[in-house]
């Protein structure tokens, strides 16, 4: 099923001309409303008049996460504050979160693209759909929520946590669809087991999984254990939230809503645009966004793009699976974590040596993060209570900065391996193959 055939199945020529028109309008808009972009464009000697087609996008400057941080909180916002009706935030790497403001039209576009995803998964107004992404500053919960409402299906805003109650609701309300992280889906399967239930006791048939990397093996396991078909759902808060791209029944790459989000693949070192089929860093330009439009935002996600009409009838460009990151960001339980965030917290506390190690694992299908730190000799105490208080203080600080619970492990001074040159700070034991 296709929600918006006009756009999703547009001929390539029409799409090219729509994207060109929208890019011209966007560039004029940010040039006059966002000093950051005006300065950048002037420095590159590019004016809005130089952009005549979507192919001219290569003349435009890139935007990075660092730019968003440097312009915290509203420096990149193009619309006046009176037009902003909602704000989301994603975790920042060194204190500043990334703030994204949405206008009423932005939210309408978000609902529209999210509805396209759900329709591609086979969800209709007859379905009951559980949104089990976190609700709040994170875009997952509310983003998916309004898509389900827009489609007209029944939304169950379960958010995360209280898994047994959640499963009872899935069973009793005959929930047919669910959106959550793939690792939470596996956790649901396990809890189902523990409650003495099987996939035959529930009616789930569609899962929209995203917000963290996952593999074909995880897909098969989730499908097998929950009795549903699992689809990829991609998005990022800087661009919009969930709904940027989605898998169709063919499951051969994820269709990008490219009338709103123009994708490019670049070589992360030379910043050159790469042709379809080549692997590189994924870059998005928000063609229609009003609140915080971004030119050529570098996602740091590594993948490739595919063109050509899909057997499902859609003509939009598809992105392959994310194969990695061009930076050191970790995605833990759907939350972005940078080792530098942990480092800055540790450096602030004089009780610890500036040596640390992040150990990421997946236990019972849930990601875990252990932070190992060395206690400074002169802060060691014979009193276990004060040692545990030191450990808790670090854990609390990390939790408030990272937004996820952390298992702090106090280590002996000198026990964490020192490396020559670039320090190795992460051990990722998750098997994502």
């Amino acid at each position: 099923m296709i929600w918006n055939p006009n756009k999703e199945c547009m001929s390539r020529d029409e799409m090219h001309s729509l994207q060109s028109k929208r890019l011209q309008k966007l560039v004029t808009y940010v040039y006059h409303n966002v000093p950051f972009y005006r300065n950048k464009m002037q420095a590159m000697d590019v004016a809005p008049e130089d952009i005549n087609s979507i192919d001219d996008i290569v003349k435009l400057p890139f935007t990075t996460k660092q730019d968003l941080r440097d312009n915290y909180p509203y420096g990149l916002q193009a619309a006046p504050a009176s037009e902003i009706i909602r704000v989301h935030a994603s975790s920042g790497t060194t204190g500043n979160p990334t703030i994204v403001g949405y206008t009423r039209k932005d939210l309408a576009v978000w609902s529209e693209v999210m509805t396209r995803c759900l329709t591609a998964y086979g969800i209709t107004r007859d379905d009951t759909f559980s949104v089990s992404y976190g609700y709040g500053l994170f875009t997952g919960g509310l983003g998916a929520h309004y898509g389900v409402e827009n489609l007209g299906a029944t939304v169950i805003p379960t958010s995360t946590g209280n898994t047994e109650k959640h499963i009872r609701l899935i069973r009793d309300l005959k929930t047919t669809g669910i959106a959550c992280t793939p690792s939470y889906a596996l956790y649901l399967a396990e809890t189902l087991d523990k409650m003495g239930l099987t996939k035959d006791d529930i009616s789930l048939r569609v899962g929209a999984f995203g917000a963290e990397p996952w593999t074909e093996n995880m897909r098969h396991e989730i499908e097998e254990r929950l009795g549903l078909k699992g689809y990829n759902l991609y998005g990022l808060s800087e661009i919009m939230g969930p709904g940027v791209s989605y898998e169709c029944s063919e499951q051969n790459g994820s269709h990008i809503c490219e009338d709103h989000f123009y994708p490019e693949i670049i070589n992360p070192d030379t910043l050159e645009q790469l042709p379809y089929g080549e692997q590189g860093e994924l870059v998005f330009t928000t063609l229609t966004k009003e609140g915080m439009p971004l030119l050529r935002y570098r996602t740091k996600d590594l993948c490739s793009l595919m063109d050509g009409e899909c057997a499902c009838g859609r003509t939009s460009v598809r992105m392959g699976r994310i194969v990695g990151r061009s930076d050191d960001m970790l995605i833990i339980r759907g939350i972005n974590v940078f080792p530098s965030q942990v480092e800055s917290v540790i450096l602030e506390m004089q009780e610890f040596e500036p040596q640390y190690m992040l150990v990421v694992d997946r236990v019972n299908n849930l990601d875990t993060l252990q932070v190992q730190v060395e206690v400074r000799r002169n802060f060691f105490s014979d009193d276990i209570g004060s040692m545990l208080a030191m450990k808790k203080a670090l854990g609390d600080k990390l939790k408030s900065v990272l937004s996820i619970g952390v298992d702090v492990r106090l280590m002996e001074p000198g026990s964490i391996e020192r490396s020559q040159g670039k320090g190795k700070h992460v051990i990722d034991n998750r098997k994502l193959k």
Partner: protein, 136 residues
């Protein structure tokens, strides 16, 4: 009346206690008493050795986090109720005990006490005629 106790910070890792014992042995320190306090990820090894000050230096050279803590060591008779009568005095005078460890053999029991207020602890123990070690 105070005895210097060594406290060594140890990760929960097989063989770590032996590392300490080996180093102390190699340098000719004799251990008189020790106990191990543990949490899920780390432990504190508390020991009383001959020449605590030098033992601290040696362990620090080997990169251990070590500190000295004052404790009181007493000896009481190894019979039912002996310890209780001593502790009763301490409690009465509001001396709080953070931890203690002990070992009894023959007709004597030796007890190491770490109190929140060591001076007061010593004073109370002296008043009740308890046998306090000057050194071990």
């Amino acid at each position: 009346m105070r005895i210097k106790q060594l406290s060594v910070f140890l990760e929960n890792k097989t063989g770590r206690i032996n590392e300490v014992a080996k180093i102390l042995g190699k340098h000719g320190f004799n251990m008189h008493a020790f106990s191990m306090a543990e949490t899920p990820d780390f432990g504190i090894l508390r020991l009383i050795v001959s020449d605590a000050d030098r033992a601290v230096e040696v362990l620090r050279e080997e990169n251990f986090a070590v500190m000295l803590t004052d404790v009181v060591c007493i000896s009481c008779s190894n019979e039912a109720g002996a310890l209780s009568s001593i502790l009763e005095h301490l409690a009465e005078k509001e001396v709080f005990i953070e931890y203690m460890y002990a070992f009894a053999e023959g007709d004597k029991a030796n007890v190491v006490i770490r109190a929140n207020d060591i001076d007061r602890c010593v004073e109370v123990l002296q008043q009740c005629g308890c046998n306090i070690f000057d050194s071990l």
